[in-house]
Amino acid sequence: MKAQKFSTATVHIVLIVMSLIFVSPLLWMVTTAIKPIEETMTATPTLLPSKFLWDNFPKAVTYGSKELGYIPFLLYARNTLMVTLLCVAGSVCSNAVVAYAFARLRWPGRDAFFAVTLATMMVPFPVLMVPTFGLFKYLGWVGSFRPLWVPAFFGSAFSIFLLRQFFRTIPMELSEAAKIDGCSEVRIFTDVLLPLAKPALAVVALFTFMGTWNDFMGPMIYLSDQETFTLSLGLQAYQSQHGGTQWNLLMAAATVVILPVIVVFFFAQKMFIQGIATSGLKG
């Protein structure tokens, strides 16, 4: 049942070469993380360290370690996790509900509004940035986490689109049968469609998770108190203005930061692909 006929060995060789290329920045990041500081700054860098300094990891994530107090890593991890979980929760709840309205219910203005929704994906971020900042400033939310997670509870065009496409692949008969059984729309949504939509919801959750975890711009604009920083923003603290950056520690911290994301992706990818496949990003 092969879809196409490549020789397996060739495929593996090509894949290994390609993945080496793809993974090279990451590899270098990890090997730099365990190098002594001198070796991170040599003009002719080597891939492997002369000695493996594993304790760069604890050093990088311990607050007030030795001569250089870096970042309160655990505090930042907690902040990041909190914002990320709230965003995931918010986007899963809101987008499913909204997508249901677009996919399965009839209401005046639906199709026009859907077209507008799609068009909003084309609005460049910088257009929104300034007035949105003004809005949060007006609400007095600048400096708090609220600008980072509250919008997630109001849906996003991309996720709505994805979920709508998914809901549309489920036969209408299912809803109609439930309706005959006396189910309300709410019941149909929660008891019939949501259980079926798990893979698509997983995609939305994952996209949100990865986007929020690595988001730099949002925290940079809205967070001002250092105690509220997220990890991606905190990483910047390793870089100093006129050089003297502890590259090994920066890379160690960066490795620790992306580790959870890689793990989540590795274990969730099957569902991830399935979710995208079944929702079908097709007209």
Binding site: M1, P25, V130, F272
Partner: protein
């Protein structure tokens, strides 16, 4: 029917509110700002179409448009090709699929702060990983990737390909969705790999390609983080000064939010136009045979 509509509005309510607050209001406000002069601390002052008039005469603005278009034209098709090829390779049901898939996806996950410096190390003209490899392969004078205006954009296009993991995942899902029966039918006709790719895979994948290319185009038009970190001031000689980096410099470095808003609106219009053109042009090429 009436009650269905009422429930529907209730369901759609979060997005209606979100749309009004986080999209419509900012879009309209920035349209207003584009006719004003203001900065973070100064309230907006109406100046008519001054910002747009200035833009027309601003050489650097036009330079960033040229740079951005060059980048889009090179980066979008290239990363799409890489992503499709990778997805097709992975779709051959090789062992270790999950492993490879993660490896290809990983570069999109490395935080920008670390990534920027890693690229600088890799592409360094004298001692970078890339040029050291090229010299070992016998190239006597490899390019100065970062310092030569002729190569700096090429560097960024290459970097863009590392980010194709995201699109690859979506292509892969699309490939897995193509019914096996189509390939079997092609096998019966004695079609070879190239023919199958041309007549089965690509047509069946075309909606996904369209989706990815449009998303990629929208993203590339806004290319920002990598050049901003790697090439401050659009160095060398503004060859890597892109639309959004210039916009950011105007908004924050130069304290000209009004001008930046006007630029944002121009970008919005360009994006809308290009998307529309892409959709129009693709109408005949894209197959939506399953409703």
């Amino acid at each position: 029917m009436k009650s269905e509509a009422r429930i529907a509005y209730l369901f759609a309510m979060p997005w209606i509110l979100g749309f009004l607050t986080f999209l419509l209001y900012p879009v309209l406000a920035s349209f207003f700002y584009s006719f004003t002069d203001f900065s973070v601390l100064r309230p907006p002052r109406f100046i008519g179409i001054e910002n747009y008039k200035e833009m027309v005469q601003d050489e650097v603005f036009w330079m960033t448009i040229r740079n951005t278009f060059t980048y889009v034209v090179a980066a979008v098709p290239l990363s799409a090709t890489v992503a499709i090829l990778l997805a097709m390779l992975l779709n051959t049901k090789v062992k270790g699929l999950a492993f490879y898939r993660t490896l290809f996806y990983v570069p999109s996950l490395v935080p920008m702060v670390a990534l920027g410096i890693l690229w600088l190390w890799i592409f360094n003209g004298e001692h970078g990983l890339l040029n050291m490899s090229l010299e070992k392969l016998g190239m006597s004078k490899p390019p100065n990737w970062l310092g030569d205006p002729a190569w700096s954009k090429v560097t960024l296009v290459m970097i863009a390909m590392w980010g194709s993991g995201n699109a690859m995942v979506i292509y892969l899902a699309g490939l897995q969705d193509i019914p096996q029966s189509l390939y079997e039918a092609a096998d019966l006709d004695g079609a070879r790999l190239v023919a199958k790719t041309r007549h089965v895979t690509l047509p069946m994948l075309s909606p996904v390609i369209l989706f990815n290319v449009i998303m990629g185009m929208i993203g590339s038009l806004q290319v920002f983080a990598v050049p901003y970190v790697m090439f401050p001031n659009g160095a060398p000689a503004r060859s890597t000064y892109f639309f959004t980096t210039y916009l950011f410099d105007n908004a924050f470095r130069f304290q000209r939010m009004g001008y930046a808003s006007a630029m944002g609106w121009v970008l919005f219009l360009i994006t809308l136009t290009l998307t529309f053109v892409a959709l129009r042009m693709s109408e005949r090429q894209v197959h939506y045979d399953r409703s």
